[in-house]
Structures are given as C-alpha cells and as structure tokens.
C-alpha cells in the first residue's frame, strides 16, 4: 500500500532529512513510526502524502508513483488519505461540523450528505455534542479528535497521523490512539508517527528512524 524504495530527501548540502529509506507497509497494517526529533518522521509522512517530493528514490502510495504524479493528480491521491497533524490545522473561523464536512465538500459531495457523514464521524469520536463549537472552544484532545473525524469522514484507505498525541496529556493521547486503532480494526491502513514510547505499548509493528535512516522495522 505504501512503499519507499531507496528514498532520500535533501533540502541542502547540509540538510539531509532522509537517507536511502526503503520500507513497505501493507494494506490494513497499523504501523508506528518513531524516533527522536529531527529523525525524519514528519518528512517521511509528508512525502507519503505528496506534500514533498523525494530527492531520489521511488515512493508508491495506493499503487501511484508519487514522483511521477502530475500536480493535477495530487488532490485525487489525497482524497484517499486521511491526514492528521500534530497541530490539527482546524479552521478557526468555522465550527467543528463545518471543518469535518470540508473534505467531502471539496470533492463536490452534496451538502446534506457531507453533513450527515460529518455528524456520523463526530459521533464516532464522541464529539457530536460539540459539533457547533469552534476549534478554540475545544480542549487539545477534543481538537485532535475533531481532526481525526475530519480525516476519516471521506472514508480513506490510509490514515497518516503525524505526532497526533504530541501536545496531549496521557488521557487525551490514549483516547486519540484508541480512536485510530478502532479505524485500523475497521480495515484502514494507519501510519502513526510518534516519539512517545507509551503510545508504542502493544504495537505490532514499529519502524524506527534515526538521522534520516531506518534503523528497525522496515520489513
């Protein structure tokens, strides 16, 4: 489902984010990506979502070669991905329901359908009663769960969560990880990057990155 073949990312002569990374994530897997700050976790996630392009090597996501993907094709790749960010990136000028509806509206889905599915997604994350609240009225944990609701509303095949628990307390982090595990149980491929060792408890597969190189769990 996600394949990196000898992928490197170099921003400048002295800034090399990834070095010759090769890894394979199969459909339906739940994979944790861990390593210290600056190890290259976020860069790897960004490249999987075609936010950044590799300097060398080949990345395949959902059978599509990211390096060969034309600019116009990127939005259609992302519609099959659920992206979750450390800072949530919810839009403050609209309520949680409107934020959750956005991935469907950009595809041209009918408003009524988008609202129905957004409410269902918020319900799954225990946030339906906060649907009309604005992001700044929510706690950090609630904001992150709202971001998860937005990520899963278009029923993606892959969820890429970049440090989703980084700014949360233990209880809120556990809720977020439980939610992601629940989606994995429903058949969604999940990649979660984290440097929180507590999150890795009972993890089936952990890929470790250090200084831009995979040091374990690549196979």
């Amino acid at each position: 489902m996600i394949e990196f073949q000898s992928v490197s990312k170099q921003y400048s002569a002295h800034a090399i984010a990834l070095r010759d990374v090769t890894l394979n994530i199969a459909k339906g897997e739940l994979v944790y990506l861990t390593g210290p700050s600056g190890a290259g976790k976020s860069t790897l996630m960004k490249m999987a979502a075609a936010i950044e392009r590799p300097s060398s090597g080949r990345i395949t996501v959902n059978g599509q070669d990211i390096g060969k993907l034309k600019k116009a094709g990127i939005p259609f790749l992302r519609r099959n991905l659920g992206l979750i960010f450390q800072d949530q990136r919810l839009l403050d000028d609209r309520d949680i329901l409107a934020n959750t509806m956005l991935p469907l509206l950009v595809t041209g889905a009918p408003r009524a359908l988008a609202e129905q599915r957004a409410r269902a997604a918020l319900d799954k994350l225990g946030l339906l009663d906060r649907a009309k609240a604005h992001p700044l009225e929510l706690s950090g944990g609630e904001q992150q769960r709202a971001a998860i609701a937005r990520a899963i509303v278009n029923r993606p095949q892959i969820i890429l969560a970049d440090e989703p628990t980084a700014s949360l307390d233990r209880v809120a982090a556990a809720k977020v990880i439980d939610a992601l595990r629940a989606f994995h149980s429903a058949g969604v491929t999940c990649v979660i990057s984290t440097h929180d060792e507590h999150v890795l408890t009972n993890a089936a597969r952990v890929i470790r990155l250090e200084h831009g190189q995979v040091t374990g769990g690549a196979a």
Binding site: R78, L83, R89, L102, V106, G108, R111, R150
Partner: protein, 306 residues
C-alpha cells in the same frame, strides 16, 4: 445536481460568505469601483442620448453653384436640366439666382451699397442655390461632397460652395467624444481591475491557512480559485449596478436643468436612462472586469503560496 455545479454553488456561497463576514470592507470596495465605473457609464448615457439627436438635426444643407462670368444667361439657365440629373436621387430644390438679383440681395444684406455702387459693373456671376432635403444627419456630409464634386465637373460651372463643413465638424466632434469615452473607459477599466486585484490579494493572504488545509484535504486548484473568482465578479457586478443607479438618479436633476435650456430652443430634449439591453451589457462588462482582476490576482498570488 452534478459535482461540478455543486462546487460552483459552494464557491458562490463562499464568496457571499466572505462579503457577509466583512460587509464594510466589501461595500467600500464596491463604492471605489462604482466611482470608477460611474464616469464612463455617465458618458455612455450622454452619448447614447446625443447620437440619435444629432442624427435628427434638420440641416437642409445648401450648395451654391457659380457660373463662369463669360457665360450668357441662356447658357447659365441651360445648366438646370444637367443639375436636376445629378440630383435625381435626392430631394432638392434648385433656384436660379440671376447676377442682378444677387447684387441686389448683397446690397440689402451687407449694408455695403455705397461701396458696391463704386464698382460700376456687376462683378457677381449668375448662380444656382440648391437646397438639399433628406440630408438630415452628420453622416450625410460625404454624400453632399460627392454631389458637389459632380457639379464642379459640369462645363460652364466656375465654383461650387458647400456648407457641409459644420456637419463634418459635428461628426468629428462626436467621433472625438466617442474615442475619448473609449480611452476613459479603458483607463477606468484598468483601475477597476487594479482595485479588484488588490482586494483579492488581501483575501488570498487572509485565507492562506484555509487554502493550505483545503489542498491537504484534496481540493483542486480550481476549487480553491473559484470563490475568489466569484468574489471578484460579484464585486464588479454590485459596483456596476451601483454606478448605473447613481447615473440614473443623477438624470432627474439634470433633466430639470436641461428642460429649461431645451425650452429656449423649442425642444423637448431630455436625457433618458440606458435601455435594458445596454444596462445588461454594462453589468456584464462590470462583472467581467471584476472577474479579470480576480483571475490575475489569484494567478499571481496562488503561485506565490505554492
């Protein structure tokens, strides 16, 4: 409804929502653009009213045809059939003016009878005065010149004078006004585009987080651009409507003043607002200018955001 139409609906709602969120800013921009549009719209309204009026002016131009002084009276009068033949396609009256009558008229008109009396012989030639009818517009000046040319070629004719110069002047003046209005329209059109360009630039910068998030969620470039296009077109449309309303309202007091002036000339001339077809065209142009400004701005600033 197709996804394409729904996305346009979404873009229109987003544009209206942007206007609703900052009504003061939107109205101010409408006002600025409306002021720029009002001047050419007023000019067009004036030209639209004056053009038919100029076409209706009854000018009955005259052609004075002078016979060579060595021609006999019989030879001079014999030219009449030839002149009628030249004027066969025109409504015209041909009056033969003997040289004696011309001198008498000159004496009566100019008050120079004493000076003329010292000349001895009558220096004036026999002549024809041809009054043309049905030549009622400035556009007919060219036809009058053609007739005069044909008359000059008639043997025995010494000179032909045409009083069509003022008609040409009127036509030229209208042409100059038309060109000036066109240039003014182009200049103010550029100003409208610049105002919309800047308005959309600010919106793109204000909404860059929304743009970035939408792109991450799978929005195409067109999806992101459309609300800005609609905002630009909406701004142009509202400004066009405001400018037309202002021009139409201004016609009332102007017509009161014009009525007093027209009465002095025995006319009932009044400035009328533009016809619905003209209004629709101007509104479409206004919306088009707004759209052009928005497209330029989005094209430039989205490229920078990438």
């Amino acid at each position: 409804m197709s996804p394409w139409l729904r996305q346009h609906g979404f873009a229109l709602r987003a544009a209206l929502s942007t206007a609703r969120k900052a009504p003061g800013s939107f109205l101010f921009n409408v006002l600025v653009v409306a002021v720029a549009l009002a001047l050419p719209f007023a000019g067009l309204t004036l030209l639209d009213n004056v053009r038919p009026m100029s076409a209706q002016i009854a000018i009955d131009p005259e052609i004075s045809l002078f016979i060579k002084t060595d021609a006999t009276r019989a030879q001079a009068q014999a030219l009449a059939p030839r002149l009628r033949q030249i004027l066969k396609d025109s409504q015209a009256s041909i009056v033969f003016v003997p040289r004696e009558q011309a001198l008498k008229a000159l004496k009566n008109k100019s008050g120079l009878s004493d000076v003329l009396a010292t000349l001895g012989d009558n220096p004036l030639p026999d002549s024809y005065v041809i009054t043309l009818r049905g030549f009622s517009s400035a556009r007919d000046a060219g036809r009058i010149d053609t007739l005069a040319q044909q008359m000059r070629a008639v043997p025995g004719v010494d000179a032909v004078q045409v009083d069509s110069a003022w008609i040409k002047k009127l036509a030229a003046l209208l042409h100059v006004l038309h060109m000036a209005l066109l240039l003014l329209g182009i200049t103010l059109g550029v100003i409208v585009i610049a105002v919309v360009f800047n308005t959309i630039r600010l919106q793109v910068l204000t909404q860059r987080e929304e743009i970035a998030v939408s792109k991450l969620l799978g929005a195409t470039d067109n999806f992101i651009r459309r609300p800005f296009y609609y905002t630009g077109a909406l701004l142009g449309l509202c400004a066009g409507a405001a400018a037309l309303a202002a021009v139409t309202l201004a016609l009332n007091p102007l017509n009161t003043a014009i009525a007093q002036l027209s009465q002095l000339y025995g006319s009932d001339f009044q400035l009328a607002p533009l016809a619905p077809g003209g209004i629709a065209i101007l509104l479409a142009i206004s919306a088009g200018l707004g759209l052009a400004g928005a497209m330029l701005s989005v094209w430039r600033h989205m490229a920078r955001l990438h």
